[in-house]
């Protein structure tokens, strides 16, 4: 009896994964535990292992397919069992009905197929709970019920608003409703129209487009999360110009004591340590807003933004407050390496309580970062430059300085507290002995 290979669920909120590539081909022998297919979710690539030893067969989805979790994607059969014909013939499915059109890959009961067709549901996306993973009518119904509304008609809007939106050519889905229960009233449509008029988008003619990049995968994830963060968290920002003389000096002295194979302590590592120290003193910044509650978190897990070609990824340095500079340096180096190789695990990316984003290497003096949800704050680090500053006697001297910009969620943190926190970060950077005490 062929054993199904299912698309595993890799995270709490994950409901589908994309097949990156098959590592084994249909008909190939595999051992239990062999990685047979590579999948990706959000930005993490995972390998799915063979659940048993045998012949990989009955592959249902090719590279690029997005498959719901727990869906059967292939089978492992015994060598003496008859080959399975793709896409879906298993010995338990004697009455498989192949619906017409794009859904011919899926196995479904005739009633389920008909219902899916009526509702315009792609059977490929439906999880089957029937025998052998067959899609039943209730599976289709359940899928239909959970499918998020995507058409205009599912927007809650009064008739007057709909008419106005029609007349003005405004997509109701983009209008914020002020009526009861968030219903869109016609006044809301007029507001949206006025706002649109201000933005006055220029029309793009096709000949003006150099390249079209679909908003998918990592890009889409970043876009969605950043938009959510920007919309939901009221950001307050604070700048601090930091004299990094002491920090640079500490670095060079530590690096001088390291073995050649040990990774150097970067300025970023020192900044991480300084932030970890400050976070301990300001628990409100090391927090998370959950519903109607602010959770002050025990661990100080600092994410360090790493720039990849596809986008920014933020591996997390766990318990940064308890690690020494060299350990932090090692962690940062390893995380960055894994990130570049696309080998980051789920665990690497979750659990952060604060983020440090250092884009100084790109030559910017200062910038404002968007908070990484569900964290409460993020610090943006600009490049180190030599600046003229007054000394104790008021005489101009040259010092290496950088600008740190803190963005904090005003729902959780007030200005004073945020300012105090940033002030502590500066103090720690300018007096690193602080985090040795």
């Amino acid at each position: 009896m062929p054993k199904p290979v299912i698309m595993p669920k890799l995270g709490f909120t994950q409901d589908s994964s994309e097949i990156v590539r098959w590592l084994k081909q249909a008909g190939e022998a595999v051992e239990q535990g062999d990685p047979i297919v590579e999948v990706t979710t959000d930005k993490v690539n995972m390998e799915v292992e063979a659940p048993s030893t045998g012949i990989l067969d009955g592959i249902r989805y090719e590279a690029g397919a997005i498959v719901p979790v727990t869906e059967v994607i292939a089978f492992i059969r015994a060598p003496d069992e008859p080959p399975l014909t793709a896409p879906s013939a298993s010995s338990t499915d004697s009455s498989a009905f192949s619906p017409t059109g794009a859904v011919s890959e899926a196995r479904a009961t005739p009633i389920a197929a008909k219902l899916a067709q009526e509702k315009g549901i792609d059977l490929n996306l439906v999880h089957g709970t029937g025998p052998g993973g067959r899609i039943t009518k209730s599976d289709v119904q359940a899928f239909g019920a959970t499918e998020a509304p995507t058409t205009l008609n599912k927007v809650r809007a009064v008739p007057a608003a709909r008419r106005l939106a029609r007349e003005l050519g405004i997509d109701l889905a983009t209008v914020q409703g002020s009526g009861p229960r968030g219903r869109v009233q016609s006044a809301d449509v007029r507001t949206a129209e006025a706002r649109q008029a201000k933005l006055s988008p220029s029309t793009i003619t096709p000949s003006n487009v150099l390249k079209t990049i679909p908003l998918t995968g990592m890009r889409l994830t970043i876009a969605t999360r950043m938009q959510k963060s920007a919309q939901e968290a009221p950001h307050i920002t604070f700048d601090a110009d930091v004299d990094v003389t002491a920090a640079q000096d500490l670095r060079s002295r530590i690096n001088a004591l390291l073995n050649p194979d040990q990774p150097r302590v970067s300025l970023t590592a020192v900044i991480v340590k300084a932030c970890a120290w400050a976070l301990q003193r300001h628990p409100l910044v090391n927090s998370r807003l959950q519903g109607q509650e602010i959770l002050l978190l025990k661990d100080v897990n600092i994410g360090v933004a790493v720039a990849l070609e596809e986008g920014l990824i933020v591996p997390v340095i766990k318990a940064a407050d308890q690690k020494g500079l060299t350990k932090i340096a090692v962690d940062i180096a390893q995380a960055a390496e894994r990130a570049r190789q696309g080998r980051l695990q789920m665990d690497d990316l979750t659990g952060g309580t604060f983020t440090v984003s250092n884009l100084g290497m790109f030559g910017v003096d200062r910038f404002t970062a968007i908070i990484n949800p569900p964290e409460t704050a993020i610090i943006a680090i600009g490049q180190v430059t030599n600046r003229l500053v007054p000394d104790a006697q008021g005489q101009p001297i040259v010092r290496p300085m950088l600008t740190a910009t803190l963005s904090a969620d005003h729902r959780v943190v007030d200005g004073a507290e945020a300012a105090r926190f940033l002030s502590d970060v500066r103090r720690a950077l300018e007096h690193p002995e602080l985090f040795l005490m």
């Binding site: 009064v158 008739p159 008419r163 009526g179 016609s186």
Partner: protein, 328 residues
């Protein structure tokens, strides 16, 4: 212009109609010397004699039948049913004969009669003397249903109803009989099938019938103090309904509230809401169309219970505020 009461207006209409057209006669219980239970026919028997102001035994089916037979054979009777509640005893004659004769006979006959009756609650007359059954008649093809709310409309609509060649159910309201208003002395008609915008407004449209028109105007005063200007429309003729002013108004205001005394469930309000929602006004709605009607109970005897059984100015105002402030 001189002001007279609603009941005086009714009496004047009857008087003038009978003077102008000898085919018009009155028939009903206690309408002669007694002058009618609510005084609508007081003095008329003295003027026109008992041949034209006919007292009947307590025989509502007979009264209705008499109107039908007379109307079929060249007369223009105006019957009176003492309380709308008692019209239930005439239902067969009204629904199966009066309403249908013309149609059943291929349009070759007509029944030009009027049946007047006072309906409504508020006098402590309790369950069997306080009915509002207008919707029953609206539901019968072949009848016309009229509900005047002012003395001016009462006289004009009654004269128009008497001139109409169809069976007209003319529903007065007991509480309106003593209300006063300007009424021209000469004969004039208010057309059937014509709604009246009795108050102009902006924020919402209230469509009300009979005594609820008065209460809605009361409510409108209260609303005005809160910056809400209600437009009030009185259909006056429920069947056939002049829907156009209602539709235009709702297009303007985007919010509609229907108010009637009869129990909400199955009441005429449902018809108005449907007319609005099925019309072009739908695309201009900012909120669901709402109804206020009587509770689904017989009219209680206790005064306070009776008061709270049907819409009152304060409940109308409260509902209007909720509608305008976006609670629906």
């Amino acid at each position: 212009m001189r002001e007279i009461t609603y009941v005086e207006a009714v009496r004047e209409a009857l008087n003038q109609a009978m003077t102008a057209d000898e085919r018009v006669f009155l028939i009903g219980e206690d309408i002669g010397i007694y002058g009618g239970a609510f005084g609508a026919t007081a003095g008329l028997i003295e003027r026109f004699g008992e041949q034209r102001v006919i007292d009947t035994p307590i025989s509502e089916a007979g009264i209705a039948g008499a109107c039908i037979g007379a109307a079929l054979t060249g007369m223009r009777p105006v019957g009176e049913i003492q309380f709308m509640d008692f019209v239930t005893l005439s239902m067969e004659q009204l629904v199966l004969q009066a309403a249908k004769i013309r149609f059943m006979f291929g349009g070759k006959a007509s029944v030009p009669m009027v049946l007047r009756m006072p309906g409504g609650s508020g006098t402590g007359a309790a369950a069997q003397h306080s009915e509002s059954l207008e919707n029953w008649f609206v539901h019968v093809p072949g009848l016309k249903v009229v509900m005047p709310s002012t003395p001016y409309d009462a006289k004009g609509l009654l004269l128009a109803s008497i001139q109409d060649n169809n069976p007209v159910i003319f529903i007065e309201h007991k509480l309106l009989y003593k209300t006063k208003g300007p009424v021209p002395e000469e004969m004039y008609t208010v057309p059937l099938e014509q709604s009246a915008v009795v108050r102009e407004g902006r924020e919402l449209t209230i469509i009300a019938t009979s005594v609820m028109v008065n209460r809605s105007l009361e409510a409108a005063k209260q609303l005005s103090e809160q910056g809400i200007e209600a437009e009030v429309i009185d259909p006056r003729t429920l069947k056939p309904l002049d829907a156009e002013p209602i539709i235009s108004s709702v297009k303007k205001t985007g919010r509609a509230l229907v108010v009637h005394e009869a129990p909400k469930t199955g009441g005429f309000g449902g018809e108005i809401v449907s007319v609005i929602v099925e019309s072009q006004a739908f695309d201009y709605l900012e909120a669901p169309v709402r109804r206020l009607g009587g509770l689904d109970i017989p009219i209680p005897y206790n005064r306070n219970l009776e008061y709270h059984t049907v819409p009152q100015p304060e409940t109308i105002a409260a509902e209007a505020i909720k509608l305008v402030r976006g609670e629906y």
